[in-house]
Amino acid sequence: MLDLFGSTVRTCDGVSRRNFLRVGALAAGGLTLADQLRLDAAAAETGGSTSKKAVIQVWLAGGPSHIDMYDLKPNAPAEFRGEFKEIDTNVSGIRISEHLPLQAKIFDKLAVVRSGTHTNAGHGMGSQWMLTGYQPTIEVNDNIYPACGSVVSRTKGANVAGMPAYVTLPRRLGLGNAAYLGASYNPFTPDDDPNQEGFKVRNLKLPGRVTEERLDRRRGLLTDLDTIRRDVDTKGDLLGLDKFYRDAMEMITNDRAVKAFNIQAEDPRLRDQYGRNDLGQSCLLARRLVESGVSYVTIQAGGGWDTHGDNFSQLKKNLLPKYDQAVAALVQDLNDRGLQNDVLVMTFGEFGRTPRINGGAGRDHWPGAMSVLYAGGGLRMGQMIGTTDARAEYPATKAASPGCLLSTMYHTLGIDYNQSFYDQGRRPLQILNEGRPIEELI
């Protein structure tokens, strides 16, 4: 058994000189009780970051098969290595699956950590771990710990006022919520498939029966009638609601958000390049959103990565072609627009898959090793980081825990992942309680 946080395998959480340079109790993570109590207030006032960077996270729910994508083992025994061949990429010495040909052509704009690892093989708990950095002890259907997008929403907010900070595409994401940070930091979602002809954002465009003029009239009437004193509650909820009303009306009437979501305005040829499916179009929409000021987009589209049976034909016929096309198009498009330093793309799922092939030509849950792709964000591209053992079962070098993988992302956004927030039990919890950025990337 891999002892992730003990001494069997050293994770990336080694000695850091960088930490030493950041003085002050907050930055250093050595919080006394009083520090922690002050933090909440301070974070609310100052926010976590002023950079305009953004993240697009492609969530491969179900657990993508690392050994068939980025970490092939052509010399492993037949019951491990699988059917797929390796191909060269445009970076010499780096080879990936033959079913990722488009990504192979632009691998100088990608970096993959092959040595991601944790220890929970359940979908719910593994997902929560990878989406939040914390491993829950119980399988539940909502966040116990806040998803990264909610943390970014809380600490950084939207890059442009009047836009939501955190969006999930195309719909709500089961474990993408804010937990103890509060519902204000839950994601906004169009709740509709951008690949559909009549795609529109839920409740952003005026309902059929209401014209803009009528909305104006209503707002006038509401102003007249909405006279309850704003101090009848003690928590500021009334004032909070007023703020959200202003933001919402801004979004409805100002066309910035409407335009950002208007994927129909894209050149049809570019839309084709991303792939005319929900994953491809969600990636394209995500690019539009971060350009307009959204700071964190999580995409869960397509699905089907939980390939217990018929792994190889599922991957090569269905999953990998769409995924390869969408991610390659997104990365290329971001580079074409000069956004490669401002937008970080990440793709991963809750775990990898068993290197040993099961009786149904499938692969099962395997958290021991997984591959995580990064692109842009000002990180160092064109490299493979970390290795796994001969059968791609466990990291051999540079083991990267969920905290390492996610702190790399927070690092690019300039968010101090050592800062704490209170959970519902008034326990101060750091954004991440382990891990530090992957040195080869930063």
């Binding site: 946080f5 030493f20 050595g30 009780l33 009083a34 259907n141 116990i144 009437l221 009638l225």
Partner: protein, 808 residues
Amino acid sequence: MRASQNWLGIGIAACLCGLSALPLSAAELQIFPTQVELSDAHARRQLVVSLDQSDVTRQATYTSTNPQVVKVDSRGFVTPLAAGSAEILVRFQSQELRVPTRIAALDDKRQIDFSNEIEPLLSRFGCNAGGCHGKASGQNGFKLSLFGFDTDFDYQALVQEGRGRRISQTASDRSLLLRKAAGQAPHGGGRRIEPGTEAYHLIQRWIEQGSPRSAATAARLVNIKMFPTERLMRTGAEQQLAVLATYSDDTVRDITAETQFASNLDPVAAVSEQGLVQCNGQTGEATVMARYMGQVAVFRALVPHGAPLAEIAGFAPKNYIDGLVAAKWKKLGLQPSAVCDDPTFLRRVTVDLCGRLPTPEEVRAFLADTSTDKRDKAVDRLLATADYPAYFAMRWGTILRNSNLAGSTQASYAFQNWIKDLIARNRPYDELVRGVIAAAGEWQDAPAINWYWQSRDDQLHQVTADTAQVFLGIRMQCARCHHHPYEKWGQEDYYGLAGFFTRLGRKSFGEPPPYFSAPRVTLGDRNPLTGQSPEPKYLGGDKATFTPEQDPRHGLVDWMVRPDNPYFTKVMVNRLWGHFLGRGLVDQIDDMRETNPPSNPELLDALAKDFRDHKFDMQHVIREIVTSRTYQLDSQPTDGNKYDQQNYARFYGRRLVAEVFHDAVTQATGSKARFDNMASSARAIDLPHEGFGSYFLDTFDRPRRVTGCECERSSNATLGQVLLLANSDEIENRISDGNGRIAALVKDKKTDTECIEELYLATLGRLPAPAEMTKTASYLTKFSGERQQALEDVLWSLLNSKEFMFNH
């Protein structure tokens, strides 16, 4: 007085009775302690000087008559230098006090005690905090026990691990421990301990002595006490605290400099590292906690809103609740708001008891009733409806995790009905608790086993933690892995409670499968302290033993319902109080601990006694609460109470919870909800579990039933909520529903005035004020060409008004 030799060779000649003896006479300078006697080079003493209940420790001046023997700094902190006698002269304005001081022979060779002297420093300077070396993975290869509760482990880590390089006896100041802590070697935590300070010297001395282990005979810390414990303070005022530790050999030591302090409400009173409390400008009450090696003590700062009041003018107490609340107002100079008007009361109490808005008919009937006891009658009427048990069953179902996960769809209906039935028949509260905690059998007979089944993944720990939190008001999750950082509970207590559940048996068929009490231990979890299966022990009490035929869970409930159980009744009355008043007497309602005291302990005690005297009759306590004047105060603040957030001098408005708000929209628009597989009349509060798809409920943050904490409900606003209410087809369709309220008004050819009245009654539970009537009527007149649309606009505006969204 003791001055005997003991483990530290310290005697403190300040009698501990000084802790409770507050200075009495008006303008006379008072000092604590009245004399100082120290016999150890590392002993210190904090003086606290007061004048007429006001702290002047930092304003007074201090002089030692013999600076070779003892020195005292400008904040009244006393350091011994050599054996001898001296006096400390304390001057403030024209007054002077003398503190006789005797320093016994200072023993420089005395052995420093690791657990009593070094370990506290690791806590004081944050080394073993959860964000640093105390976290499960340690920090950069160096791990300490969280908050220093495992002395042996920490000793090992410092002295023996890291190839012994953390300690260098021959060159103590080259020890990595000191170089890192002092920021002389790269240290992620920065500089924590300044060279030259007492803490630095102490560690240095200990290293030079060969960094010995704590002697087996070393005294143990018994408790810590704070001086003073409570003060009435003014904004801008300050108060120096002193903290004394008592050890098992009866020695007492001043630990002010090694204690960690924290305030629970900085805007009222903040506290510095040296224990200086400062009132910051907001009135109210703050609790300052002192934490030292697993022991806690609290100081309460009361910053009155105004001068104390002899009586509360215009307030006529209705029952004991009002008397006890008013006593607090008098003390704090709070003037309550007036009693709310009838429509406000009816809407408030209908929402709180039944989870719905009053109907227009109910409001009209209530307004027409001229009897003086009509509010009491309304309460009786509402408690007798089916809505009251439905709503409370929903609230219980949320914190008892009633869910349809893992095949429990049918069981979730059964569990909900079981709770509803108990509440409808007003069965005593202990029956509900016993039914849950000691649930056994198949779900058809004992549907409460779904509570166990929904914790199946972490069976022992989840039910232990939920039992403590839901039924005892104690958050014990921390103590599973380490001593609670600011409570007395440790792993011993946690696993003692867990011990009642280790014989939980579960069949291997059915969803949920039958649960039963097995004759021997079935769960494999171990108590890490013993390496054995946890053994039952009552919280803060004795071990319990059970025969194989007995169900330990019944033993646990028997203990809970005993008259002397300090938690059981209090957490329930606090839960009810929090439900109706918007804030628990202890806030959060299920976080009762010494360091989180109630805002009105007398009231909490009285409610608990009343509940017990009435044999756990929930309706009785509810009736007392909602018929009190306190519950019926207006929510509009006055100048006399606008800063009150803790003492109920006005009703604290709050948002309607997700399910209630959903039903309010349904009811106001006269539309139908239509949940899958439920009757068309079913409301959100009737849903047995969280698995019913509803964009509305999700958007308004319905609890996902993943914790036993009431706090899972969030009142935070979101963009999605506003867009849904203000700009969605869903709401438009409800407003313009062909069978809805507007359609009926149009069909019945109601006049504009009648329509406006009806819409106000259906949404806000009141008639429009004249100005509102005028504005709304003129809107209808202006757009009379499209009257139905104009009526829809009025309803839209009312639904989007904050008054509608709030229970106020």
